[in-house]
Subunit: 94 residues, 5 copies
């Protein structure tokens, strides 16, 4: 699980029925210092996250299906499970 | 899940029976700016995607089997689950 | 499984019910020499680890659910499974 | 799933019983241009692939067990599922 | 699955009960040329491997639980499944 920042939205007309009505967000992965990295995921949003929000991304199939309330059926891997208020970083290991 | 661009087709005569009649596409992974990266996947196409299309790639075994309608049986991990129209990127996090 | 160092805490008000009452730690991955790297995970702590502790991180959904005593239900992937006393490194392969 | 080139064979006397009689191949991962990279997998071969062959590698536990006809039992993750004849790369995305 | 070299031992007093009595080895990942890389795993050893041994590491939860004879219960992901005698590398792809 990692911290990401919502960077945009993916729009697709031709898609698997599972994704009908689901919001697909482009989430950039943040590094330990909170900066945007080159890594990202397309994640299903079940937390009503908005662009710019820092979120907790969970990237595992079974977990994603549970959060979408579709386990065991549902082709999905990455979901947003929390909107992060802040991260308390210890000085000594920064 | 990530955004890829269909870059080619894989042709194989000797293959596991599961792949008989299935289209195997070479999909290059795109970065946050929409540029082709060095990463790629060989994905089964169930969305009739064509070369050059930007697609949503789902890389998880159970999901892939569901999209291929073969769960729980079927040796497969990566599938195309959507053809992307466009990505709305927020200015502030670009 | 890898060795990490607890670097901070993640605070989130809006989150999936599963994470209510659970401590979410930011764990920096250590390299072979014991130095902090740029990689990290947000892991659920079931071992009462504290900031600065070196811990064993297990990053697999089913294992994480077992450690949280919620298998098969529970959207979670990374957990702390041990607090490390020390690592005995062999001279010849260092 | 990715394209690899068979680069060698792994010989082991002390091994888990599952691997008795199974051919363990060292498969180098190829990049989009078909060049060998630094990445590799040790994969079980069920397609009678030979050294130098370009192969399709599937790196997922459940799939690997199915291809080895041992699902749900069998400690294995990477298998060769096809011997590739050729890859048709599109000019415009190369 | 990849080739690693046993580089050390992890000692932990506070740990999940599953790891009681199990040997946790630090295994450095080797590259195609057999050199130690910066990557490593903490793996459970069921093959009585010793420091300096070259081993086959299997990094998948279900496989790891099977090798530890605890499937479906047991929080574990990486295990040593063979002690490697030698690797026969083909000249043409080296």
């Amino acid at each position: 699980m990692y911290i990401g920042q919502v960077a945009g939205t993916v729009v697709a007309t031709i898609k698997h029925p599972f994704f009908g009505g689901k919001k697909l967000l482009l989430v950039a992965r943040l590094d330990l210092a909170g900066q945007v990295t080159a890594k990202y995921d397309i994640a299903v949003d079940m937390m009503r996250a908005g662009v710019g929000d820092r979120v907790l991304v969970l990237d595992e199939g079974s977990s994603a299906r549970q959060v979408c309330d579709v386990e065991p059926w549902g082709p999905v891997r990455a979901v947003i499970v929390a909107v992060i208020d802040h991260v308390e970083l210890a000085q000594e290991v920064r």
